[in-house]
């Protein structure tokens, strides 16, 4: 039995479990926590996609709602996030199924609203409650939303 438990200190636990794995001491492993953590590797890949989407959408919102502050920095962030998202999906094709899930979009949009409101000071009720752009436009390199007064 290992001396370090997952609950008392996960950093020391992880060093010990990695050592036991490499030594083939399977009987001594803390299987359930290892399995949980390995599942989490997949989840963290999904979380990363969510985070990048929220950053991308929040910048599209800023672009649309603060035309006076449009600049190369905002434009660069939008481009970078699009590229990073495309790279991640190419590397992990099963992420595509997340993009088909409406609950997923709802969560990501909520995060984008919080970011946009926090960074610009625009009130929540002035921002759309759901993503107004199609997936195709969100990922399209040359899509930058017009001012809110114009049709989107």
């Amino acid at each position: 039995m290992g001396t370090m438990t997952y609950e008392t200190d996960v950093i020391n636990w992880s060093k010990e479990q990695a050592r036991l794995l490499r030594n083939g001491q399977f009987d001594a492993l803390d299987i359930e926590h290892i399995a949980d953590e390995i599942e989490d590797v997949g989840k963290s890949e999904q979380r990363e996609l969510e985070n990048r989407m929220a950053v991308l959408l929040s910048h599209l919102l800023k672009w649309q709602h603060q035309p006076e502050r449009r600049g190369s920095s905002c434009q660069r962030t939008i481009k970078e996030q699009r590229k990073a998202i495309a790279r991640r999906i190419a590397k992990t094709p099963s992420l595509k199924s997340d993009l088909q899930d409406s609950d997923w979009w709802e969560g990501v949009w909520g995060d984008a609203l919080i970011k946009a409101a926090d960074e610009t000071g625009i009130a929540f009720d002035q921002l759309p409650t759901a993503c107004p752009w199609s997936e195709e436009r969100v990922f399209s390199d040359d899509f930058f939303p017009d001012d809110c007064l114009e049709a989107t």
Partner: protein, 148 residues
């Protein structure tokens, strides 16, 4: 069919977790699992760093943009403090990190660049002006920056 770590890590993770729980050790991708388990420790450290720099960035914004103070910043500050205290509680071996001057430098640099990404300020302090005990204290909100 075995999916490889390289071709799709989400599918790989589901499959390896299933094999682990089923006790099929001979089919496991041991080296990648061991690396990922080591990374669990590293990601705890990363989370502490990220939360600390987010907290410091908001304390800086609070101090240097008093006209923009509001509930949203207050909520972020409070939430990060709570999350950091939870991290330290769950993983006591993280505590020495916060005493490390290099760690502090790195976290401070991240906080500064996060602030500068949002707003142009040219009078931000070079080093963190607060004690860890202040930073984590729920009642502490820095006063408006004076021209010192």
């Amino acid at each position: 069919m075995k999916s490889s770590y390289e071709s799709d890590v989400v599918v790989w993770a589901q499959e390896q977790a299933r094999l682990l729980r089923a006790g099929q050790f001979s089919l496991l991708d041991i080296e990648h699992i061991a690396e990922e388990i080591e990374d669990v420790g590293k990601s705890e450290k990363r989370e502490l760093r990220n939360r600390m720099s987010l907290l410091l960035a908001h304390l800086l914004k609070w101090q240097y943009q008093p006209e923009r103070r509001g509930n949203s910043w207050r909520r972020t500050i409070k939430e990060q403090r709570k999350a950091i205290l939870d991290c330290l509680d769950e993983t006591p071996s993280l505590k020495p990190d916060m005493q490390d001057p290099q760690w502090r430098e790195r976290v401070w640099a991240d906080a500064i660049s996060a602030v500068l990404k949002e707003v142009e300020l040219d009078n931000l302090p070079e080093n963190c002006p607060w004690f860890i005990s202040e930073i984590l204290q729920f009642e502490f909100y820095p006063d408006a920056a004076r021209n010192n």
